[in-house]
Symmetry: C2
Subunit: 300 residues, 2 copies
């Protein structure tokens, strides 16, 4: 049984790729996933990797448009899709055509968004933000927790400013590669340890001289690994919040990210006295790709 | 030609070991070094590693005392030398005897120092501090820059309080393992980049949301790697200073560490309006081991 998509939506990140076979009206016909992330591909390997994942959805009688977002458009990706500069709608009209040899596909890669002062960049998150604008509203404050969390201010359907926090990456490095790896566990969570860390960092965001107390606390006081791990997470997320108060102090934050991580941010924001709602990251990505598809059709 | 030491001083850290053949009057007769740091040895491998480095200095007619400091006394080392708790002289009288099978040596391992609130530990630095107390003075503020920098307050020859900053380890992780590795160079230094980072962090110690601007600055503004690297170093050392103002605001700091790193701290402290003098780390270690040897003789 062959399934023919009107167009195909692709979220292509550093470590994996997800694809949706779409009908013109926005119905999802099928889903696919591949572990061939941008991080392991050279430019010539992107087209075969894409075909491997979506070929069964193609119709040999016509060209199927494929709209892709994420690191696939980075300088080290398939082809660089230039940044759109703030203030900008999350999906600027122009997409970059990727070079393909298969005549059944036309691949459009969405640009990331850059900000000149202070310098900052995003790639992939702009599509989730486009989903928010299309499905939720044209203004608001969004936090996208992750390896590199983004805080984004939206007004009149445009990204007016944003800031990146390296919280997730620093957490992984400290928990896995630093001396703290001897003190932090991997599994069970401690709400109290997390809350203590968040409060400590909200009080004083300087963490460089606080982190080692996690190691010393396990050596001297026998603090158990799950408490240490939760406190480390709390300290880092608390420090992120301390550095982004100008974004969240107005309240009513939308969180878009992995559900477990979003819940942590919701808890931390609650400790700071601010309410936040969690939106599904996959839904926002797909809504953003649909909005991009609509924008692209208008310009064609 | 055989050389016979009255005693042997040993500084045994995680990644290497240094030894000095000493005369009773404190004269250095010879020096040795080994790459067999504590990090790569199991308990039974310490004695052979030690003999390999110092055997030529032993006299088979008598027992040569060996005084060792550093991670050799950690729980994962040769044998654990319990911490002395603050307030404490940097060298508490009791040293831990390491088990040996060679009858020509008696090995004494010096304890580290712990602090219960906030929890903190040091191991090795207490011997350099003992050197300071013995050679420079019985009170003052010492900064020992390194993988884990220590800030230490000395009064009446005792360590009254101290604090550890994970600055060096975090710098290495960010420069070598994080996304910033693409943006930071390895060699040439930029005084201006360093100073800008120090000033930025002294103004606001929250670094989690500032670090990614190093990556974005290189992508958008073409900031060269040496400037990025120097700014990263400045941001982290500046954040460390922001968290240790209660130690250095009185001025007149003694810096004990690798000479290049000590010079960076001297520059950063200068930007904060505070003068610091640099003391030789090797000299302080040896002076501390000599002080420990003298204390040990008194108690025997």
């Amino acid at each position: 049984m062959s399934l023919s998509a009107d167009w195909i939506a692709v979220d292509w990140g550093t470590s994996n790729m997800r694809a949706w076979a779409m009908r013109a009206d926005g119905t999802v016909l099928a889903r696919g996933e591949s572990a061939k992330g941008m991080g392991q591909l050279t430019p010539s390997q992107f087209e075969p990797a894409l075909l491997e994942a979506v070929e069964q959805w193609l119709n040999s009688e016509r060209v199927t448009p494929i709209i892709a977002c994420g690191m696939v458009g980075a300088r080290q990706g398939w082809i660089e899709a230039e940044y759109a500069n703030t203030p900008t709608p999350p999906i600027a009209a122009q997409a970059t055509r990727a070079p393909v040899s298969d005549s059944r596909i036309a691949v459009f890669i969405l640009p990331g968004v850059s900000q000149m002062a202070p310098p900052d960049v995003m790639r992939g998150e702009e599509t989730q933000i486009a989903g928010y604008v299309s499905a939720v509203g044209a203004s608001g404050t969004i936090c996208l927790p992750g390896t590199h969390s983004k805080w984004v201010e939206i007004a009149d359907g445009r990204i007016t400013r944003f800031r990146t926090a390296m919280t997730g990456e620093i957490f992984s490095l400290l928990a896995e590669k630093s001396v703290l790896r001897h003190s932090v566990g991997t599994d069970i969570w401690s709400e109290d340890g997390f809350a203590a860390g968040v409060r400590e960092a909200l009080d004083d965001a300087e963490i460089i001289t606080k982190l080692f107390s996690i190691r010393a606390g396990s050596l001297l006081d026998g603090i158990v690994p799950q408490v240490s791990r939760s406190r480390l997470s709390g300290l880092l997320i608390g420090a992120e919040l301390a550095g982004t108060g100008d974004y969240w102090q107005g309240g009513d934050i939308a969180l878009i990210g992995a559900s477990r991580l979003s819940a942590l941010y919701q808890t931390a924001l609650g400790l700071a006295g601010v309410s936040a709602r969690v939106l599904d990251a996959g839904d926002m990505t797909l809504a953003g790709l649909c909005a991009a598809r609509a924008a692209l059709e208008e310009t064609q």
